[in-house]
């Protein structure tokens, strides 16, 4: 767990006068679950978008999976998976068609697609629903499916942008089980969330306030450092300093 898979050095994004992300410096180790916490508008999504190649940084340096985010975005894209806040499957396609489509655009061979999709349906216990439209699945299932589709090409890192918003605690727990299984296979998970109980599931957590990283450590160390009994207390202590509220 000592090889950094993401290395960010003073990564900054400005929109005019507004500094959405200010000199972010951190490292993410291979195989860890890295929690990216912050209130709405703190700059989490901006930071994640820069690392995924969706947004060009204003300044700073970063590498993802060993590739430079300015020069080697195409190589980065092959090595990452991404699950956005918005639900990202096609509702008018069936479960199978969605799997085949995403596997197809990642360039998997027919044999791989067949094997992967069977595995995936197996793992979710979705045999009866494989030919059903995604529209007809409950939200919890859709999110699990979405996650497994995001890692169908065995990426080195998977970026999860508030993956569990809107689902019940049981479904959230099941979702985290899937994340653990993925990290067991060596996939690194970079997760943004605003559920504090979820941050306890992460190996390490960074907390962003107003575009800056204010704290970065394991949940246990953070609680000790801020002499708090829960991550919730840690977070609220820091978030109280926040001046901005708007979502970027």
């Amino acid at each position: 767990m000592n090889v950094p898979v993401i290395k960010s050095e003073k990564l900054t994004k400005r929109f005019g006068d507004f500094i959405a992300a200010n000199e972010l410096t951190f490292e993410v180790q291979t195989g860890e679950i890295f929690g990216f916490l912050g209130a709405n508008g703190a700059g989490k999504t901006t930071a994640m978008r820069m690392l995924c190649g969706l947004s060009i940084p204003s300044s700073g340096k970063a590498t993802v999976a060993g590739f430079d985010i300015y020069q080697e975005t195409e190589k980065i894209k092959k090595n990452i998976g991404y699950m956005s806040q918005k639900f990202s499957l096609y509702e008018d396609l069936t479960v199978m068609e969605n799997i085949r489509f995403y596997a197809g655009i990642y360039g998997l061979t027919d044999a791989e697609i067949k094997e992967k999709s069977e595995q995936l349906v197996d793992r979710l216990g979705l045999h009866d629903s494989a030919k059903k439209l995604v529209r007809s699945l409950p939200l919890g299932w859709k999110q699990k499916l979405s996650f497994l589709v995001a890692i169908i090409h065995q990426p080195k890192i998977v970026f999860l942008d508030e993956p569990t918003s809107g689902v019940d605690p049981v479904a959230r727990r099941q979702f985290w089980d899937l994340i653990y299984r993925a990290t067991d296979q060596g996939i690194t998970a970079f997760v943004t969330t605003h559920y504090m109980d979820e941050s306890e599931y992460c190996n390490r957590v960074s907390i962003m306030v107003d575009g800056n990283i204010r704290a970065l450590d394991s949940p246990a160390n953070l609680k000790k450092h801020f002499s708090a009994s829960s991550m919730d207390e840690v977070f609220h202590g820091l978030a109280r300093e926040a001046k901005r509220t708007a979502e970027i």
């Binding site: 995924c52 092959k78 499957l89 068609e97 489509f101």
Partner: protein, 368 residues
Amino acid sequence: MKQLFSFIKKEFLHVFRDTKTLLLLFGLPVVQLTLFGFALTNEVKNAKIVVADYSKDNTTKQLTDKIEASRYFDVEKSLQSHKEIEAAFKTGKIKLAVIFPENFNHDLMHLNKAQIQIIADASDINTATTLTNYITAIVMDYQRQMMKDASIPMTITPEIRMLYNPELKGEHTFIPGIMAMIMLLVCAMMTSISIVREKELGTMEILLVSPFKPIMVIIAKFIPYLIISFFNVTSILLLSVYALDLPIKGSIFLLYSESLLFIVTALAIGLLISIQAQSQQTAMFGSLMATMLPTLLLSGFIFPVESMPLPLQVISNIVPSKWYFIIVKSIMIKGAGFSAIWKETLILGVMTLFLLIVSLKKFQIRLA
């Protein structure tokens, strides 16, 4: 390549899963063509016509009787002068005049050929064409009967004059017009809606994070609608030839090539709209405003460009469908070859190139 194929397959799945849209895509050409076609080429009954018989012999009498017997005409026999006939046309009292010249019988008996003059009010093109066709048919029929009895061939040539609109401008122009409209509807509107839908759903981000290139997204979006459009062009042409009896006079290959160019124009317009629009509704209304309205009003499809006020005539030049309309009209109706329409093709081509470059540039910027 395989990635592109997966994407195109997915686009087709979208199209085929949405039965309402599917019905719209394939049914619309048929419905529009039927509506325009049969509403405009309606058969004419009891049209008021005048027969002026200056020859007054057996043949002219028989021919007049034959015309009178037909249910299409309401014949008034009179010996009006040309001036009076023209006045009757102007006031709209008559739709057509048949004139037997004084020397009709003489010519027929001695030269074995004679002429009758048929004058039609061509301000209403469809009626004029239908009526002159009926009269010609009656004359030909009479001539065949005569030939049976006579040993020497005799010919009666109808000399047709289209009053007010000698070139019959606007004849069957609804077919090129409908082709332009359908293609804009299918390509511009459907492409823009389907791209904006990916934005709305958030799937666009996933695609942009994937190794799949943005340009490929566009190509994959284009291809299904391009194929559907070709299907539509074919169904419109088949319908117009076999159901409406409107033959294609020019080269079919040329017609398809020009249509391909226009399809690309429409796709580029759709792409441009999709970059601006944030919701599917906006994309739909944007497409309607940017494509359907100018096509209906400014392409010459419904209102002749020549009779528009000058400012509108100038504006009509930037409407791509105007040029496509002229091209299709020339090929289908006049049987024109490429040498006759290269200018229009060039204009349309430059417009398409411009639209494509602008939209691709903007698409790239949006990604940053």
